[in-house]
């Protein structure tokens, strides 16, 4: 068997993607593609108000419409007690989840679901929605995070009393929680500083921008068992949430993850899935619910917008002596923003003795936020990396050298507490400094920025099953929906471990009834954690193949080795036998003990933190304020790249999304709190023609807890871009932009003010 110490045959290469053909030919089955006999169309009625009391819902006319088979509202979901469970980066509360699926008592944002219908056609379903009479009492609303924190702000939840303060307030508030983290004493630190820079920043909520809308098909049987097909990052977690909401035994619900057209964190929760199940249970027929793009924007979770303040103190030689931040994150209509990881990540890349971060989790009349790559980290690190750039300029120091002087290394106590193990931040900085991009000349109106990012990476529960087919090829089943190339990576790790051709491994994503519990795809955990399960299953297969070869040769198993994909005699004393391939052994499996199969189930611990450093060149049009990204280089420590092209793609994708966050993306609400731009024409994500080729540079500092050194890839690359672009713009125009997006009107205004 191969190990990290041996020469690698497949790891680090880019074989043809196992899902590639189906995707380019249109054969891949996405969430909306499944058709079942008798299937109904489900549609959802949504609140047109940002904040309103629901006085009554009359569905009688809709129910009487021919072709309508079921109508549901919050009355069809049992009231849930407040109960927090882990869900992606967020703690999820079932009471809130139920109220987000169907508004209970109050509509809390424009687009909040209030009722749903299932009908024999889409036209009838639309007509039925028009017949549902909802009597609203419109209430004052609040969109902005700081306005929501004001003492006189409209209160969303009368039973919300700020947690994390002593004593607990006796007046309800939109601040769900206050968080404090810190080490050392920032006052002492700042007193020792020669230079202190502080600034306030605002970031906009941004949507994950996945191309495939949320979609689900549900089919309830008469015996109470049900099947669900949906576009999800975690079909096991979707099963858990839906079973809880519908009062089902978990094992009575079988969930299959469809191919997925992007998730980026936004598909770690459920929206249409329980609605489809409720409608199917009531109608007694399969029901499909597919969001429109308008619904995706109005009713599924963006990441938080925020108002942040950062203060950094340094000595004249560039040593950071103190860092302080206040982070105010929007959670949307229900508590649970990613402000906690934001607080922990803010100063994590740096070795600082004195750090203090205060965070606020604040509800507003917007859709409940969902995870988005490295949840919380980009928002906090944007502010810190922007201030660091300003510090470097004021010190007259190269911004990479400033970071190198303060970079966290193995043994550094992270700003959130524990010591780092082996990490590769310094290596990404060295690679950035040495990269030709960093020393290339710039023209007029052009600027260059650099910034870095940190994310923890995580492990967690994963299973893998491997079955050897009669001809010696293998089917490898995992429970991780493939959103970033995990099937290819799993096949590579299996092939490498077994010493066989990667084309002989057919990786699939198994449904919830076919495999043990596997936590969702997110947090850059799958290649690490599910990969460890795959490697473990592969080792079991190799061991079983040794045993079968020993039986075939009638020698001791100790006299058989598994090497380069063959069972071989361990030495001359073992006997003279021709090596046996998996196919040779599989052909005789029936005679030697039956089918050859392995299953690995584990809770992977020891994820290795990830760091990245980005370089960006921009040109600013002084007449229009338009920012053009001329060149972009993204450097990242991945531990070990398993499928190189997919790793590069993850880095490029994260950088592209971060550039959109930096320059264009924002939600625009009217004075009534209604979303004005729920579509890709007006919500401007970057397209290929907006961006240059993003060069991905992979740094590999092995994570010692993974057999091949994997850390993870997907989260880190979205963290540095906002500050990288802001720092580049500052280089071009000499003005520090503090509010995202840095769209042409804002850049033009900054130019005008700076002139």
């Amino acid at each position: 068997m191969a190990s990290e110490n041996q020469e690698l045959k497949w790891i680090g290469t880019s074989p043809v993607r196992p899902d590639g053909t189906d995707k380019v030919t249109g054969r891949a089955k996405f969430g909306a593609d499944l058709m079942l006999p008798g299937m109904l169309t489900g549609k959802i009625l949504r609140s047109p108000h940002a904040h309103a009391k629901i006085k009554s819902i009359d569905t009688s006319k809709a129910e009487a419409l021919p072709g309508v088979k079921a109508v549901v509202s919050a009355a069809d979901i049992a009231e849930m007690p407040s109960e927090w469970v882990p869900a992606g980066e967020l703690q999820l509360n079932y009471r809130d989840l139920a109220s987000n699926i169907m508004a209970r008592g109050k509509a809390l944002y424009d687009g909040h679901a209030v009722a749903a219908v299932a009908a024999t056609s889409a036209a009838i379903a639309d007509a039925a929605l028009d017949l549902i009479a909802v009597d609203y009492e419109v209430l004052p609303h609040v969109i902005d995070v700081e306005e929501a924190m004001a003492p006189d702000a409209p209160v969303l939840h009368e039973d919300m009393f700020t947690e994390g303060v002593t004593p607990t307030p006796d007046k309800p508030s939109n601040i769900f929680k206050e968080i404090d983290i810190g080490i050392g004493d920032v006052e002492t630190g700042f007193a020792a500083a020669d230079l202190i820079v502080e600034r306030s920043f605002k970031t906009a909520p941004v949507h994950q921008g996945y191309i495939e809308p949320h979609a689900a098909v549900a089919s309830f049987a008469e015996d109470g068992q049900a099947e669900l097909w949906c576009s999800t990052q975690g079909h096991f977690t979707a099963r858990a949430y839906c079973a809880k909401l519908l009062g089902m035994d978990v094992s009575d619900l079988r969930v299959t993850a469809s191919e997925i057209g992007g998730g980026f964190g936004g598909k770690t929760t459920v929206y249409v899935e329980p609605v489809a199940l409720l409608l199917s249970r009531k109608a007694g027929r399969p029901v499909r619910v597919v969001m429109t793009r308008d619904e995706v924007f109005r009713a599924s979770g963006p990441t938080s917008g925020a108002a942040n303040w950062v203060k950094i103190g340094v000595t004249n030689d560039g040593k950071i002596v103190a860092g302080e931040a206040v982070l105010k994150y929007q959670a949307g209509a229900f508590p649970g923003s990613p402000v906690q990881p934001g607080c922990m990540c803010a100063f994590a890349p740096y070795d600082i003795e004195n750090v203090k971060v205060k965070g606020y989790d604040v509800v507003t009349n917007r859709p409940k936020v969902a995870a988005y790559r490295a949840p919380g980290a980009p928002i906090a690190e944007h502010a810190v990396e922007s201030v660091l750039d300003e510090v470097a300029k004021k010190l007259g120091m190269d911004p990479i050298e400033l970071r190198q002087k303060n970079a966290a290394r193995e043994g550094t106590n992270a700003a959130y507490g524990p010591k780092f193990g082996p990490i590769g931040y310094a290596e990404t900085l060295a690679a950035a400094k040495a990269h030709p991009h960093y020393s290339a000349p710039l023209g007029p109106n052009q600027g260059r920025g650099v910034a870095s990012g940190f994310w923890f990476n995580v492990g967690g529960d994963s299973c893998a099953t491997m079955n050897v087919s009669e001809d010696g090829t293998l089917v490898l089943a995992t429970g991780s929906p493939d959103i970033g190339g995990s099937r290819a990576s799993m096949a590579i790790m299996a092939a490498e471990t077994l010493g066989i051709d990667v084309a002989d491994v057919r990786p699939i994503v198994a449904d919830t009834a076919s495999l043990g519990y596997t936590f969702l795809t997110g947090g850059s955990r799958v290649t690490f954690a599910t990969g460890m399960a795959v490697i473990e299953a592969s080792k079991q297969i190799a061991e079983e193949l040794r045993q079968r070869a020993a039986k075939i040769w009638d020698i001791s198993v100790d006299a058989v080795v598994w090497e380069d994909g063959y069972a071989k005699p361990a030495g001359a004393n073992a006997g003279d036998f021709e090596p046996l391939s998996i196919g040779d052994i599989a052909a005789q499996a029936g005679k030697t003990g039956g089918p050859i199969s392995a299953n690995a189930a584990l809770n992977a611990q020891g994820a290795g933190p990830g760091f990245g450093t980005h370089i960006c060149d921009v040109e600013v049009d002084p007449e229009t304020g338009r920012v053009t990204v001329l060149r972009y280089t993204a450097i990242q420590d991945c531990g070990k790249a398993i499928h190189k092209a997919y790793v590069e793609g993850q880095i490029q994708g994260g950088a592209a999304q971060g550039i959109g966050w930096a320059l264009n993306e924002e939600y625009i609400y009217d004075e009534k709190g209604r979303l004005d731009n729920p579509g890709f024409l007006d919500y401007r994500i970057p397209v290929a023609s907006d961006l240059p080729m993003i060069e991905a540079v992979i740094v590999e500092v092995a994570n010692p807890t993974h057999p091949y050194g994997v850390r993870g890839v997907g989260e880190v690359p979205i963290i540095p871009p906002m500050a990288t672009v802001a720092n580049a713009i500052e280089g071009a125009i000499g003005v520090r932009m503090t509010e995202l997006p840095m769209s042409p009107p804002k850049v033009l205004a900054a130019l005008d003010n700076g002139r």
């Binding site: 927090w84 882990p86 869900a87 992606g88 980066e89 967020l90 703690q91 994390g164 002593t166 968080i179 404090d180 983290i181 810190g182 994950q208 980026f264 964190g265 936004g266 770690t268 906690q340 990881p341 922990m344 995870a371 988005y372 790559r373 490295a374 949840p375 959130y416 507490g417 524990p418 010591k419 780092f420 193990g421 994310w455 923890f456 990476n457 995580v458 492990g459 967690g460 997110g522 947090g523 850059s524 955990r525 809770n603 611990q605 020891g606 994820a607 807890t705 997907g714 989260e715």
Partner: protein
Amino acid sequence: MPGRPEIMARIILTSGLGNQYAGGQTELEIEAADVRRLIAALDERFPGIGPELKREMAVAIDGQIYQDPFLERIEPDSEVYFLPRIGGG
């Protein structure tokens, strides 16, 4: 004969937990063989903290983060941080 000097693991709570359960104390020394026993010892000293630690917290033992800790071993001179569980997108 002089005995081995008594060394106990250094335990660090978040300031939120310290304020809520431990009168503002965030650093303490406790002898416990594993995380399960550590949480039990903490709950005995600061009633109510145990369920919260089990429900919401990961631990870092000597820099190694365990998201769902239970049986992980703690050495007498270990440094153990309780910190919020991390997921991701």
